[in-house]
Amino acid sequence: MPGLEDLYREIILDHYNRPRNKGELPPPAHRTDGMNPLCGDEIAVYLVVDGTTDDSIVTDISIGGQGCSISQASASMMTTAVKGKRVSEAREIITAFKAMMGIRDQTHDQTHDQTHDQTHDHDDAEPASPAVKLGDLEALRGVVKFPVRIKCATLAWNTMGQGLDELAGA
């Protein structure tokens, strides 16, 4: 039986109470909206990328909207993980994070439908690829023990992935 301490880790509550990179970014930042249809949580991911290739740099990122502690903390930690990274690295972190949540993406290229993630055996989530250091994000590993909250944790990540796809196609 998983306990609340598996979910509400101190670092998660810290990001929830003091979210990093929070708020709107003005254009030309690219805005992508994400919604959790189960609970009505709505967020926006603002991205500034200095080009359209995989080697382009995510020079700025910010999160708007509202959500529960898990979705807000996950979004906050995501921004600190990808800010200043190359687009290709950001995509690797997305894949690694979602693998930790027990989700294997079919492909990187298509728009990720948030309601149709392929979730597998949650208690047997894959370790992150050794090439990718998830760092503080490891604190969210406990979420897989609470399957209904996985969509909370992945909301920002799916939205950012969609934003990166939109920017690459622009």
Binding site: L13, L38, C39, G40
Partner: protein, 421 residues
């Protein structure tokens, strides 16, 4: 055969702990603790009387209804039609065939929008809804709006979550229908149904009532309500899922074209067309949920034997206790949405606790086996009016008591342990 274990006489004879004994699920413990089920506005638990009636029907009486002439089929048909008659009697319908079985209340409202709506509403025609409607009474009309270009008007809300009726007459001016909920599934607001149906009729509009949250909890008399069409749900009144209900005045239902086409809903099919069957078959295409209908009949017997007046009194007392005791205990930390006056308040309580997100609240309450719903409750327009994306909601029924309210309070007191306040 389905009478509950409750004495039916004394007004103070309603003992929730004895009602609870009729519900096998409350024998279950999770992590060694009892279940505190506070989600009955979503769906109620099922008493043994309903479970037994359904099991007995499957084991002894099951056969396809309305089609075959052998004894078993005839008996099964009688059982289902008997259930229809019980429901009709329960809501004060003039005739059993004014009660239509649907898949759920959502389908009942879709039936109305599709059948009555398409036959009676063209581009520019208007329907009046309210800001507190469930999506089931919003989206079917928006679909008609997309298809036909009809106008949708809205009754706004007051600060404390009642319908703002000051401009009702101007909103009703020229509308073809007024479709509204009898009781808000989020705020617990009890709307003045008779006043609203009378106002609709003054303007020549059809009055459609979403009664999902009222039929299980209080006496229903469709004649006194003045409704023309009314949708409600089996699984919110101790009956099984898979069955919803539409009641309508016979003349109105007779005028309406069929909704779904197929078996059972015709008297004749030719190569050049079909002739629809009379009520209720016209609206019951295909094999119907027969076992479920029998279960609903048993549910109607069960809650009727408890007494709808007793149920209503019990719930009014319980929601008053919940609002008073929890407000006193948590003060300004607890925000309770909806009207405070218990006379216009059903046993539904949406609330916010400090700034803790409803999903986090329900997660922490779950640790104590206190089950509330967190989310938008299929009422996103209302959530936007409240200025939030979601609320936590506790809703009460016949098997809940003051100890359940206290358990909710005790569980809420733990929230600060997690969020460090």
């Amino acid at each position: 055969m389905t009478s509950p274990t409750i004495p039916q006489t004394a007004t103070c004879g309603f003992v929730p702990s004895r009602v609870k004994q009729d519900f096998p699920i409350f024998d279950r413990q999770i992590n060694g603790k009892r279940i505190v089920y506070l989600d009955s506005a979503n769906s109620t638990q099922k008493p043994r009387q309903v479970i037994n009636a359904m099991t007995h029907f499957i084991e002894h009486d099951y056969a396809p209804i309305n089609r075959s002439s052998y004894r078993l089929a005839s008996d099964a048909t009688d059982a289902v039609e008997g259930a229809r008659a019980k429901v009709a009697n329960f809501i004060g319908a003039r005739r059993p065939h004014e009660v239509i079985f649907t898949k759920n209340a959502t389908e009942a409202l879709n039936l109305v929008a599709h059948s009555w709506g398409r036959a009676n509403m063209a581009a520019g025609d208007a329907i009046l809804l309210t800001h507190m409607e469930h999506h089931a009474n919003v989206v079917p009309w928006q679909m008609l709006q997309a298809e036909r270009g009809i106008e949708i008007r809205w009754v706004p809300l007051t600060e404390d979550g009642q319908l703002e009726l000051t401009n009702l007459d101007s909103l009703l001016d020229g509308v073809k229908a007024f479709s509204f909920t009898a009781i808000s599934n989020v705020l617990g607001t009890v709307n003045p149904v008779q006043h609203l149906t009378a106002a609709a009729h003054r303007h020549g509009a059809v009055a459609i009532v979403d009664a999902c949250q009222s039929v299980p909890h209080t006496i229903t008399d469709v004649q006194a309500m003045g409704a023309d069409l009314m949708a409600f749900s089996s699984h919110k009144m101790c009956g099984p899922t898979g069955l919803g209900l539409l009641w309508g005045k016979e003349a109105l239902l007779d005028e309406m074209p069929p909704f779904l086409g197929g078996g059972s809903m015709i008297t004749d099919v030719r190569l050049d067309g079909f002739t629809a069957a009379p009520l209720p078959d016209k609206f019951e295409a295909g094999t119907q949920p027969t076992t479920e209908a029998v279960g609903l009949g048993a549910a109607v017997d069960y809650i009727s034997a408890l007494g709808m007046d007793h149920i209503h009194r019990h719930e009014t007392a319980l929601i008053s206790y919940a609002i008073d005791s929890l407000s006193q205990r948590f003060g300004a930390d607890l925000t309770i949405h909806g009207p405070r006056n218990p006379e216009i308040r059903a046993a539904v309580m949406s609330f916010a606790y400090r700034n803790v997100h409803p999903h986090d609240l329900s997660q922490i309450l779950d640790e104590s086996n206190v089950y509330v719903r967190a989310g938008h409750h299929c009422a996103k327009p209302l959530m936007r009016t409240l200025g939030t994306g979601a609320t936590a909601r506790a809703s009460f029924y016949i098997y809940n008591d003051e100890a359940d309210v206290d358990a909710l309070g005790d569980a809420l007191a733990h929230v600060g342990d997690v969020f460090n306040f």
